[in-house]
Amino acid sequence: MNDRQFEEYMGRICRNEKEGLRAIYEEYCPLIYSVVYEILHSREDAEDVTSEFFIRLWDIAGTYRPGNGHRAWLITIAHNLAIDFIRKRKREDLSAEIPDHLQRGEDFPEEQLCRKLSLEQALKTLKEEERQIVNLKIMGELTFREIASLLRKPQGTVAWCYRTAIRKLREVQL
């Protein structure tokens, strides 16, 4: 979805047309969920926050200002919602839960399932920060600069982390 399409859908939201939100949801639910999940490490919490995100988007559609890159805008809001969620709950251990999507996929071809699990397992070898950066880069399609700004880290560090993470992932024979 490009900026123009996004603006169009946001405009539809502003006209109370749920189809506008639905279109954005269809396109970005995986992205938002993954961004939130990488922070919360809990499927239920990530679902709560993702739902909250789209409900919030419906309410604040009028505040969107075109021209600054809608993906970064969406991700920033999702990221902040997740951080705020953590603060609110004062949760300290978010890493114990295993996502149940690991158990899904019975209908997939065996080879595909093995590959999927392997990639997930490989991702687990990454540091949390690396996983976030990989997700923001690949799923979010953000630039290193945007990621650096979002995570409040130097751009060089972000780029280096990403390269390191990708190298680790590629080294896993998939």
């Binding site: 502003c14 006209r15 109370n16 749920k18 939100l21 639905r22 949801y25 639910c29 995986p30 992205l31 969920y33 993954s34 999940y37 499927r43 679902e47 993702t50 739902s51 789209f54 409900i55 919030r56 419906w58 309410d59 604040i60 009028g62 505040t63 200002r65 075109p66 021209g67 600054n68 920033t76 809001i77 902040n80 705020d84 603060r87 609110k88 996502p99 999507h101 899904r104 996929g105 590959r115 999927k116 990639l119 997930e120 990989v134 997700n135 690949i138 799923m139 700004s149 409040r152 990708i166 992932l169 590629r170 080294e171 896993v172 024979q173 998939l174």
Partner: protein, 426 residues
Amino acid sequence: MMDEKQLELEYRNMKRQAAPDLWDRIEKNLKEHPERVVAAAEPQKGAVDKTVSIGTYKRQKAGRTYGMAAAAAAVLVLVAALPAMRQRLIKAPEMSGSGMAAETEAAPETWAEGESLVTGGGAAGDGAVSGNEVAGDSAASGAGAAEDSTASGPGAAGHGPVSGNGVAGDSTASGPGAAGHGPVSGNSVAGDSTASGTGGSGDSARMEAAFDGSGIHSAAEDMASGASIKNGDAKRGTQMAYRPLAVPEQAVTVEEDSRYFSEDILGDTSLLCGGRVLSAALEEDESGRTARVVYEMEVDGIYYAEDYVSSMERITVESPIIQTEGDTAFVLYQLVPGETYLLPLLEADDRYELLYPFAPQIQMTGEQEYLFHSGYASLVTQDTSVAVKTPEGTNDYYYDRMLVREDGNFLSDLVSLIEREAQGRK
């Protein structure tokens, strides 16, 4: 070894498959916004949104409804202005001055359906917030200029709030020294207004803020919320549009992310005072470089003091210069003259500094209504609602982390928090 492109593809597929289907859940919880439909179908009529716009930030408060009287009042107020406002970008007042951010971008407007139009500041990076539409406002305008500033220009701009102006016109105001030095240009209130100034940066030791004389769509909002605005008084319940102080090129500035906010910093509070900001200015250090922001404040009350302090009517508060990132350089998180804040301060060498200049200060936006950021986690209650502020710049970390709490316990909660943190230091 897997190809990087293939890896990315696999990754995306995996994440897409992992995403749950939440649509039913989301759809069930969507709030109705009937005013949007009304506005779309009948642009000549207006209605008050549940989303209450307060100056440069928008506030969502679930379940807040306004009575028929308020809606009717809003309709009356907005009838004239709505058709013209729709789809229109309001140009922010431009300011010119040698060597400083000369122009503010066309202020992107936030179209709150069926209610007054709220324009935000310049785009991220510009920081300037100006050029507000009054939206057919018949009540308030011209509130922006620092009260002690000189303002010129037709229409509503000028000294303090002016009520009763039928604004929404295209007026032009100009004055010397817009954002440069000295007097403040009184910008027109509504429509495509332009303000120009001749002042330049760096040619004065103290550069007064250039604040718009823009009133904000207060009528509908305040009628709806029951807030009242008194002539000549600070506009509580609204936030005036303002143009932050422009930072000269050679100024001594501090990075916004030099420090992170933490509640335990409150343990260092020397003084917690509330009051209205009278003026904001940049000051030079001994070497002649602009190095700090100085606020003059009228003190309403002192709520916490580390040591004994005698009563005071005014206080001077300093802050390092935190600069917006972007094409233009403005002071980030600047206190707005005319607005009322609760300020935790640090005393050093008989001077008071903002305890935490790297974040927005707690603002009193109404009677027992406080706008604060989510870093104050201990102050968040069930009744706290979210406010979406217009970003002041690309490095405005807090614009979507602002909260509003409206209850009489906020102040005592804040004082308790300070005391608790201070106790923890001992």
